[in-house]
């Protein structure tokens, strides 16, 4: 479609990058939510009474009505496997020798995406009760990784 032609000596591609280095604040709700994990080993939810939804992780606002949420509650560290997967690829698209067992654990009307541990993939089922395993208190930094994984709980 063009009148111009490509120079046969043209370099095929120009290599470069889009460099991004980011620092994310935990935010109004995240600050409190992650501090509770770090300092208390507790998982907090927040309830919008108008919409009747208990958000876990706790949030500053209700996405359904945009009202501010003031009512925070400890939802415990036990939930159930709502769905799970066995992931065979890493972030570069390479095949993982050891697949990762990842679940969405239901807590309140929300939950947490996290790894499962102390369990074989074949033993996991939707609905299975699990509990959060925390890092030792002194090693926690206020991150979602302060929870090492969820493991089967006896109920």
């Amino acid at each position: 479609m063009t009148l111009l032609e490509r120079d046969p000596n043209a370099p095929a591609a120009w290599l470069g990058e889009l460099p991004l280095a980011s620092r994310y604040t935990a935010g109004l709700a995240g600050e409190r939510f992650l501090r509770a994990i770090k300092d208390e080993g507790r998982i907090y939810g927040a309830r919008c009474d108008r919409c009747g939804v208990t958000y876990v992780p706790a949030v500053a606002f209700c996405e359904r009505c945009l009202n501010a949420i003031e009512e925070w509650m400890d939802v415990g560290i036990r939930g159930e496997v709502y769905t799970f997967t066995l992931l065979y690829q890493d972030l570069d698209g390479n095949r993982l020798e050891q697949p990762e067992l990842v679940a969405f654990v239901r807590l309140g009307d929300g939950g947490l995406v996290h790894r499962l541990g102390e369990v074989q993939a074949g033993e996991v089922a939707i609905g299975m009760p699990v509990e959060a395993v925390f890092r030792p208190a002194g090693e926690r930094v206020g991150s979602i990784l302060d929870i090492v994984y969820f493991r089967p709980s006896c109920g």
Partner: protein, 383 residues
Amino acid sequence: MNERVAIVGVGWAGFRPTTPELSYKELMYEAAVRAYAEAGVDPRRDVQSFVTVAEDLHEGTSIFDEYTPDQLGAALKPMHTIGGDGLHGLATAYMLIRTGQFEVVAVEGHSKASNILSLERVTAYAQDPLLNRPLGLNTHFVAGLEMNRYLYESGAEREQCAAVVVKNRRNALRNPLASFPGDLTVEEVLASPPLAWPLGQLEAARPVDGAVVMVLAGEGAARSLSDRPVWVLGVGWCNDSAALEYRDWAQAVYARQAARMAYRQAGLRDPQAQVDFAEVDDTYAYKELQALEALGLCPAGQAGELTAAGATVPDGDLPVNVSGGSLGIGHLLDATGLARALEAVLQLRGQAGPRQLEDVQVGLVQSWRGAPTSSGAVIVLGN
């Protein structure tokens, strides 16, 4: 105000795993020249507004909209970019024309996926930076979680998802724009290595390069520009919860809501009976089943069985992804919805060659923004 809007020209370029001979601008140009020639318009004179759909991190350029105008003939004209799928772009053109301020609008979408060396890392940067990204997981995990819950709630089976792959890649055999045609069996698909169990490697669409341009016009202009305008009967788009933690894992709520909006405009009360064919999201095989249910094209929980029984093959009751879909054509990133709409336009005009469906009047097109999002768009097209 223009009540009715039609697609009066379509053009494409690429549709291959790599397109090393063309820069992204030249790929866009090739698609645009085809579309303008087909519509019989000079973009400098006749096209009054332009829309591109693009995401910065797919381009490797911040505020990528900078680089959109020249190759589309849009310099010094009203042009803007939508951070969305090609169907969001079509919906935008539809709105622009309906205001009455514009008669002719062009929409462009493209993929240079082959130029993104770290596509999986880029995609992972769409995960929540505090809650999800620290886990360091390839974003396919979202599809694995979704598929597992979808199978659990709907009763669909892995074999039925594999049947989607078999169908779409067979359909691709009759589409020269498809990069991944194939004649596979359900057993072969099921035997492919797992990607995010229960999701298998062959159940995930692979990215390709390509560009699509469409020219839309209000009713008056459409009738003078085209003998076969394809009418936009309805558009809809929707976001479910942004957070993985609060969304519906089993159902494509965004597709259901978007379809309701589009059906209302199109006056479709019984889409199952009124839609002749559909081009829907099959980024992952299970998504096609999930979409058919969300779109009301089959009763909840029955998409799998119907697919396995052949209801969605080209000569079935409701042909789905006759083009080959993303599994057969390849996934065109932000241009994916436009690629599906392209098939619908060709089918409605009777220009789909060896895969032409008989007597089709209404086509449905639906698209998803991809993992980890829960958003998408729907457009209903008709003769």
